[in-house]
């Protein structure tokens, strides 16, 4: 099962290494990882996409909580949430194929951010499935390069992951 885990961490030296080391040292996979600042400059948020059975995910979450610099860990896939990823695709585009490709981009509501005689760079956001679909459709035209940002996710509703309370800290130990 694929899980998206949000980890609120103190913005301290070596935190990223501790987290990635926790995964590599136990043979767990990180499918994608993104690290960002939050409203609070002392705190960063990491979004980790990983796969594993319930036992593995349970261990990952507990191990993440055990790290001294983590403040809050949450499996976003357990709640109603929105997930997004950004993709940049560089695709071959000749005079003959360009209009076809532009049609596709339009249907997907993507954007062209660079254009020249032989290629186009397309920007699009969406969930993984949508981006995969775009890539599939563009494949026949000849993809030159793909860069993806990795998934970020946010829970629906009016609560914030980043405003943590003493109770949250207590709960995470339970």
């Amino acid at each position: 099962m694929r899980h998206i885990i949000s980890v609120l961490v103190e913005n301290k030296f070596g935190v990223l290494a501790r987290i990635s080391g926790l995964f590599s040292g136990r043979g767990y996979n990180i499918e994608s990882l993104s690290v960002n600042a939050t409203e609070n400059e002392n705190i960063s948020i990491m979004t980790i996409v990983t796969r594993g059975d319930d036992h593995v995910i349970d261990q990952i979450i507990k191990q993440l909580r055990k790290l001294v610099n983590t403040i809050k860990v949450r499996d976003v896939t357990q709640v109603e949430h929105v997930e997004r990823e950004l993709i940049l695709v560089k695709v071959h585009a000749t005079q003959r194929t360009r209009s076809d490709i532009l049609n596709i981009i339009d249907t997907f509501r993507g954007k062209v951010v660079d254009i020249n005689k032989e290629s186009l760079v397309i920007e699009m956001t969406g969930d993984q499935n949508k981006l995969n679909a775009l890539v599939d459709v563009l494949e026949p035209y000849g993809i030159i390069e793909i860069i993806r940002s990795g998934t970020i996710a946010i829970a629906r509703g009016s609560k914030s992951t980043t405003d943590f309370t003493k109770q949250d800290i207590k709960n995470q130990e339970e």
Binding site: G14, H55, K62, K66, V68, K72, I169, K170, E173, E174
Partner: protein, 565 residues
């Protein structure tokens, strides 16, 4: 008034109650060593940083205080690695200080630069690279706090040379606040009641204890709990001593070389309450054959230890001592008469197993049996000595044939299984407990790994005893080759070895060579008369003696193999 980082460091150490440091100097640590020169903290110079780390560890295990050691940048720091890993796997509170090259040189492959924070990341509870002298005081307070609270463990503090030399106005901080670190001490009352409810109806329950009971000083509460309901107690290797032996409820220790009754009791139990025990593979044997009939409850301060290897029915996150106090509080609300008869029958059944196959060996009056040496050490010390062990057969025989009654009496590297641990650990234990006899029960292979510490023991007048069960083999390796590789003793024979008596004498210690069973007791008694200097005893034991019973790798606990006797 501003002070240098080195001054603040020494001040903070004192503030945290440190009276003993094991450290080895080097270029980047010189300003600290200059301050230590004037301090009343005892600084012990081991002859290898690994020895220093194990000594700090032995001190911590035997006293319950935080062990402290120092190593310089680069090779000094990397020499500490095995010591740090040993402490980490057994959850021992330690603060390890390493020197580092100046901050402007970090990353440039400077002389004696090693990324020790990176190297040790997976084997520390937490670590710090101090980049600003203003942080030293806070970092040290946090380091001590982290090392000893929650699930204890080693914390590393890396100190660059320029940071130690720089000045700051900050002095030792007393209260520590780490937002994301709040270990749970009290267990959830609902879960505790659920745990007791299952016990009320259990016909064949077992209490399974581990090293966590010692770490949280929970032995007294454990004893009261066990006696209140008359429950059998089984331990892991790490839990030995947390419950007194002998005691009518003590069954023994389980696992690969544990006793028959313990392994059978776990196999036949209908309910196991694990207390500060993490179900390590050496204790469980093959998992799908482990305690299959039993419901399980587990008390552990570290949530990651729960459900990790063995799925439990009642998880309780909390400190063993605190939770056991809560348990005692609720006990009276339950009906203990209901299954009393069943439990008495169960204890009788266990007693039958105990009598059927106790630990044993075939005595000889011609050749010294290693088990006999341990039995005699027990006798001559009246069961009061602190015993450290090396790793291998010596470790198992020490655990099998000495009877431990005190939680800080048996000191062994259970998690990492570090050869060379026992002797320096014995030095640390003796320095922490000058009034106790301290014996390192050693193998000839292991002892050679840190024998340079003889010099340390002589210099600081540390009266430890080393009993080498000398089989001129890497005995435990030979045993596996005997049992599983057709007696092909590849690279496990140690026929080339020093004359241990001369070796001892050359360091200024006393050495004895013992070749006959009839001499064993006399030599041991003789060794007890020698104070303030180490005694090295070379017992030439039966070379091909095996440790039994044994749960072979991949077998279940009740599939033990036995030796002749």
């Amino acid at each position: 008034m501003s002070k240098t980082g080195a001054e603040i460091l020494v001040e903070c150490l004192k503030k945290h109650g440190v009276d003993l440091i094991f450290g080895y100097p080097g270029g980047v640590l010189l300003s600290i060593y200059d301050k230590l020169f004037d301090s009343d903290i005892l600084h012990v110079l081991p002859r290898h940083e690994q020895g220093g780390a194990h000594a700090a560890d032995g001190y911590a295990r035997s006293t319950g205080k935080v062990g402290v050691c120092f190593g310089t940048s680069g090779p000094g720091a990397t020499n500490l690695v095995t010591g740090i890993a040993t402490a980490y796997l057994d959850s021992i509170p330690m603060v390890v200080f390493t020197g580092q090259v100046s901050t402007n040189l970090i990353g440039g492959d400077a002389f004696q630069e090693a990324d020790i924070v990176g190297i040790t990341r997976p084997i520390v509870k937490h670590s710090y690279l101090v980049k600003d002298v203003d942080d030293i005081a806070t970092v040290i307070s946090e380091a001590f706090y982290l090392a000893k609270t929650g699930r204890p463990g080693p914390v590393l503090v890396d100190l660059p040379k320029d940071v130690i030399a720089a000045k700051s106005k900050n002095s030792c901080a007393s209260d520590v606040k780490i937002v994301g670190y709040n270990p749970t001490y009290e267990g959830h009352p609902m879960q505790i009641k659920k745990m007791i409810k299952l016990l009320e109806n259990a016909k064949s329950p077992v209490i399974l204890i581990g090293g966590g009971v010692k770490l949280s000083n929970a032995s007294e509460e454990l004893l009261r709990f066990v006696e209140a309901i008359n429950l059998p107690v089984v331990s892991s290797l790490m839990g030995i001593g947390a419950f007194p032996n002998p005691h009518k409820n003590w069954v023994g220790w389980a696992g690969m070389h544990g006793n028959y009754a313990s392994n059978m009791a776990l196999t036949e139990a209908d309910y196991i309450i694990a207390i500060g025990n993490r179900f390590s593979d050496r204790t469980t044997g093959r998992l799908d054959g482990y305690a299959v009939k039993a419901k399980k409850a587990q008390i552990d301060i570290d949530p990651t230890s729960i459900d990790k290897n063995v799925k439990v029915d009642v998880p309780i996150v909390g400190d063993c001592k605190t939770v056991l106090k809560q348990v005692l509080h609720y006990l009276g609300d339950f009906n203990w008469e209901k299954c009393k008869k069943d439990r008495e029958d169960w204890l009788k059944r266990i007693e039958y197993w105990e009598n059927e196959r106790p630990f044993g060996y075939k005595f000889s009056d011609r050749i010294i049996k290693p088990q006999y040496v341990v039995e005699k050490i027990y006798e001559v010390t009246g069961g009061d000595a602190i015993i450290t062990t090396e790793v291998g057969q010596n470790q198992m025989w020490a655990a099998q044939f000495y009877k431990f009654k005190d939680p800080r009496q048996f000191i062994t590297s259970g998690g990492l299984g570090t050869m060379g641990f026992g002797f320096p650990a014995a030095i640390g234990a003796k320095l922490g407990n000058p009034d106790k006899e301290v014996f390192d029960i050693a193998g000839d292979g292991s002892f050679l790994m840190n024998m340079q510490e003889l010099c340390t023991a002589v210099q600081y007048r540390v009266g430890v005893k080393v009993a080498i069960l000398n089989n001129k083999f890497l005995g435990m390796i030979r045993q596996w080759q005997h049992l599983f590789y057709n007696k092909r003793y590849s690279n496990s024979c140690l026929e080339c070895q020093p004359d241990f008596v001369k070796l001892a004498e050359s360091y200024g210690c006393v050495g004895f060579k013992v070749e006959k069973p009839s001499e064993v007791e006399n030599v041991l008694r003789e060794s007890l008369k020698i104070k303030n200097k180490p005694v090295l005893m070379d017992f030439n034991v039966d070379r091909e003696e095996n440790v039994y019973p044994m749960v072979p790798a991949g077998a279940a606990l009740n599939e033990m193999v036995y030796g002749e006797r």
